[in-house]
C-alpha cells in the first residue's frame, strides 16, 4: 500500500467517523494515522475542518439535528487535541486562525446558539475560549487578556440580558482597550441596529455567519 492510498483510506475513515459523531473510532483512526506517519496538520486541514464544515452546513440546512452536530464537534475536538499533542511533540508550531473568547452575556443562561458558534469556529481552526453562560462582563476582558485573544464574542437570547453586551463594549472603551480586540455580538435578542448602537464590530444571525464574520474581520484587521 503506497502512502497516498493509506492517506486516502485514513481520511475516508476519519471523515466517516466524524460525520456520524463516533468519537472513540475517530480517536482511534487519528492515533493510527499519527503512528503511520501521517502529517497532523494535513489531517486537521484536509479532513477535520472540511468534514465539520460540511456537518455544520447540513445542520443549518435542517438535514441533521443538533445532537449530530454536537457529536461531530465533540469527536472533532478530541481528534484535534490529539493532533495538537503530536504537532507539539514534533517541535512544530500549532497554527490557529485566531483566538476567540466567547460566552453568553451576564444573566443569560441560554447557550445553545453560542455552543453552535463555538463548534463551528473550532471546526474552522480557531482557538475558542468558551466561558459558558451568564458570564460577568469583566471576565470577557480578563480572559481575552490572559489568552491573547483576537475576538470577544457575546451572545444574548433574552432581550433583558442583551444589556450585558453593551456593558462589555462600555468596559472595553472605559479601559482603553477597545482597539485591542474585535468585539462581536449575536443571539436572538440582538439586531444589527443594536450592534451598531453599542459600537460592536459585527453581528451575525447564524452560526455560519458568525464564522464568516470573524474571518473577514480578522482579515481586515491583519491586512490593515
Amino acid at each position: 500500500m503506497d502512502s497516498f492510498s493509506l492517506q486516502k483510506e485514513i481520511a475516508d475513515e476519519l471523515k466517516n467517523a466524524l460525520t456520524i459523531g463516533d468519537k472513540q473510532t475517530a480517536i482511534a483512526i487519528t492515533q493510527h494515522a499519527i503512528d503511520q506517519g501521517a502529517r497532523p496538520l494535513a489531517l486537521v486541514q484536509e479532513v477535520i475542518v472540511p468534514t465539520l464544515t460540511e456537518v455544520g452546513k447540513r445542520f443549518e440546512d435542517l438535514e441533521i439535528f443538533l445532537p449530530e452536530l454536537m457529536a461531530a464537534g465533540e469527536a472533532g475536538n478530541a481528534c484535534t487535541a490529539l493532533l495538537e499533542q503530536a504537532i507539539l511533540k514534533s517541535g512544530s508550531q500549532i497554527q490557529n486562525e485566531g483566538t476567540v473568547v466567547i460566552g453568553t452575556a451576564r444573566g443569560d443562561i441560554h447557550d445553545i446558539g453560542k455552543n453552535i458558534v463555538t463548534s463551528l469556529l473550532k471546526a474552522h481552526g480557531y482557538k475558542v475560549i468558551d466561558l459558558g453562560k451568564d458570564v460577568p462582563s469583566a471576565r470577557f476582558i480578563d480572559e481575552a487578556e490572559a489568552n491573547h485573544a483576537d475576538v470577544i464574542a457575546t451572545s444574548a437570547l433574552m432581550s433583558i440580558t442583551r444589556a450585558g453586551c453593551r456593558e462589555v463594549a462600555d468596559m472595553l472603551r472605559d479601559r482603553m482597550m477597545r482597539d485591542r480586540y474585535l468585539f462581536i455580538v449575536g443571539g436572538g435578542s440582538i439586531t444589527q441596529e443594536y450592534a451598531d448602537e453599542i459600537g460592536a464590530d459585527g453581528f451575525s444571525e447564524t452560526g455560519s455567519g458568525a464564522v464568516e464574520l470573524v474571518k473577514s474581520l480578522l482579515q481586515n484587521k491583519r491586512g490593515a
Partner: protein
C-alpha cells in the same frame, strides 16, 4: 416516594446526584430519546401533523416518562443529575391540580384539564408573552390585549428599558422594571374594567429576585396571578429557578412551568421532541409544583412552531398528557410573521385549532419569532381565543384539524425563510382609542373568511 418535604429532597439530590458534564448530559439525553422513539414506534408524518392515534399518544407519554426516569433533570449550577423514580413521578402527577381558579372576583376564570376534542371551549391566557417591548406605549399595548373579548388573562411582555436606560438582569434596574411592568399590567386590566383578571407573569424579570419582586398584592401581582418558572433546553434547571418555587408556594401564587423544547435541537426531530416535551412537563410537575404548564415549542432555526415539526409536537405531546394525566396545559403559537400581516393570523389559527383539540388551554401569541420589538398586538391574541372557541363549537376533530392546519400552512410556509415582519403596535393601533387600524382589521376579516371556508363556524367577533 417522597416521604417528607419534596423540595428539600430535590435540593439534596441536586447536591448529591451523579456529577456529569453538561455536554455529556446533552448527548446522553439525545441518544436515549432516539432509542425511545424507536422502541415506542413514534412516527412523524409531515402530512399528518395532528394524528388521531390514541395508542401512539399513550406511547409518547410512556416514552417521555421513561426518558425522565432514565436521564433525570440536569442542575446547571452543580452539574449534577437529579433523578426520580417512576413511582415518585407518578405520585407527584397524581397530586397535581386539575382545576385552577385564575384571577379574582367576577373576572376569575376556571381552568380545567382539557381532554382530546374536549367539548368545552379553551380559555385564552395571553399577552405579549415575554416578547420584547418598548416602554413607549407599554400601557396601551397591555390594554390592547386585556380589552379583547376572547382574552381571559394577560401576561406581561419583556420591556427593554427603564426611563430610557437598558434593563440589566440581576441589578436593581431589573427589580424596578418588573415592579413597573406588574403595576402597568394591573393598571391595564383596571382600565378595561376587568380588575380581577389573572396576570400570568412579569416577564421582564429574568432572575429569581426579579420575579419575586413582583409579589405585592395591592399594586403588583396577587396570589391569584402567576409567575413562570423555566426550564433550560432540555430538562435543565438551576438554583435561580428552584428558588422561586418555595417563594411562590408560600405566597399562594400560581406556578407556571415554562418549557421551550427545540425542534431540531437536542431532542432531535419532532418525534423525539414530543417525547422530551412530556418529560419536561413531568419535571415541572415534580420539581416546580406547577399549577399549570406552558409549552412553547421553538424551531431551532426560525424560532417558530407553526411549521409541521412544531404542529406535530404540539399535537402529540398534548394528546399524550391529555390522555395520561389530569393537569392543566397551555401552548403558545410562535409565528415567523409579525402583527399586521394575514400570514401571522394564519399561523396563529393553525396552532389554535390543533391546540384546542389536543388538550390545551390557549396561551400566546409570539410574533416575529419573538424577535422584533413591539411587532405584536392584542388583535392576534384575541384572534387565537376566537379560533379556539370556534374550533370547539364547530366540533373539529383531530383529523379535520390536521386538514385545516395543512391548508393554512400552504398560505404561509414560503415566509419561513423570509418572514413578513408587519408593523409595530403604535402603527397598527390608534394610540388614543386603542383601536386596530382599518388595515389590521381587514386582515382579521379576511382571515376569518378563509377559516370559515375551511369549516369553522364563528360567532360574532370584535372586528366583524
Amino acid at each position: 416516594m417522597f416521604y417528607n418535604d419534596r423540595l428539600l429532597e430535590i435540593f439534596q439530590r441536586s447536591r448529591n446526584g451523579q456529577f456529569m458534564k453538561e455536554v455529556d448530559y446533552d448527548l446522553r439525553l439525545a441518544k436515549r430519546t432516539q432509542e425511545l422513539v424507536k422502541e415506542y414506534n413514534i412516527i412523524f408524518d409531515p402530512l399528518n401533523v395532528c394524528p388521531s392515534d390514541d395508542a401512539m399518544a399513550d406511547r409518547v407519554f410512556q416514552a417521555g416518562l421513561q426518558l425522565f426516569v432514565d436521564v433525570g433533570a440536569y442542575h446547571l449550577d452543580t452539574q449534577r443529575v437529579i433523578k426520580f423514580s417512576r413511582e415518585e413521578i407518578l405520585d407527584a402527577l397524581r397530586q397535581a391540580p386539575d382545576t385552577l381558579y385564575l384571577g379574582e372576583g367576577r373576572d376569575m376564570v376556571i381552568a380545567r384539564h382539557h381532554s382530546i376534542e374536549d367539548p368545552n371551549p379553551p380559555l385564552n391566557l395571553t399577552g405579549p408573552a415575554g416578547q420584547p417591548c418598548s416602554e413607549d406605549h407599554y400601557l396601551e399595548l397591555m390594554i390592547s390585549y386585556a380589552q379583547e373579548p376572547y382574552v381571559h388573562a394577560v401576561e406581561s411582555g419583556a420591556t427593554l428599558t427603564y426611563n430610557g436606560a437598558d434593563i440589566m438582569a440581576g441589578t436593581l434596574m431589573e427589580v424596578k422594571a418588573v415592579q413597573r411592568d406588574a403595576a402597568t399590567a394591573r393598571e391595564a386590566i383596571r382600565r378595561v374594567g376587568k380588575p380581577g383578571m389573572h396576570i400570568g407573569d412579569a416577564a421582564t424579570g429574568m432572575t429569581a429576585i426579579g420575579k419575586m419582586a413582583a409579589s405585592e398584592p395591592t399594586r403588583l401581582l396577587r396570589p391569584c396571578d402567576g409567575r413562570l418558572v423555566a426550564q433550560m433546553c432540555e430538562l435543565k434547571t438551576n438554583d435561580d429557578q428552584l428558588i422561586r418555587v418555595p417563594h411562590l408556594l408560600n405566597y399562594g401564587s400560581h406556578i407556571i412551568n415554562l418549557m421551550t423544547p427545540l425542534t431540531g435541537g437536542i431532542g432531535g426531530g419532532p418525534a423525539g421532541v414530543a417525547v422530551v416535551s412530556v418529560a419536561e412537563t413531568l419535571l415541572g410537575v415534580v420539581c416546580y409544583f406547577a399549577t399549570y404548564h406552558y409549552l412553547s415549542i421553538t424551531h431551532i432555526k426560525w424560532t417558530n412552531n407553526s411549521d409541521p415539526w412544531g404542529m406535530y409536537v404540539l399535537a402529540m405531546a398534548g394528546q399524550a398528557m391529555a390522555r395520561n394525566s389530569h393537569i392543566v396545559w397551555t401552548d403558545d403559537p410562535f409565528c415567523v410573521n409579525g402583527a399586521g400581516t394575514i400570514e401571522n393570523l394564519y399561523e396563529v389559527a393553525g396552532h389554535a385549532i390543533i391546540g384546542s383539540v389536543c388538550g390545551y388551554q390557549q396561551h400566546g401569541v409570539g410574533s416575529t419569532g419573538g424577535n422584533v420589538v413591539d411587532h405584536h398586538t392584542g388583535l392576534e391574541a384575541g384572534w387565537q381565543g376566537e379560533v379556539g372557541i370556534a374550533a370547539t363549537k364547530s366540533g373539529i376533530t383531530r383529523e379535520k384539524a390536521n386538514q385545516i392546519a395543512l391548508e393554512l400552512l400552504l398560505l404561509y410556509k414560503d415566509t419561513f425563510n423570509n418572514p413578513k415582519l408587519g408593523k409595530p403596535f403604535h402603527e397598527l393601533y390608534d394610540m388614543k382609542t386603542i383601536t386596530p387600524s382599518q388595515e389590521w382589521q381587514d386582515c382579521y376579516r379576511r382571515a376569518k373568511e378563509t377559516l370559515t371556508r375551511l369549516g369553522l363556524t364563528f360567532s360574532y367577533g370584535p372586528y366583524d
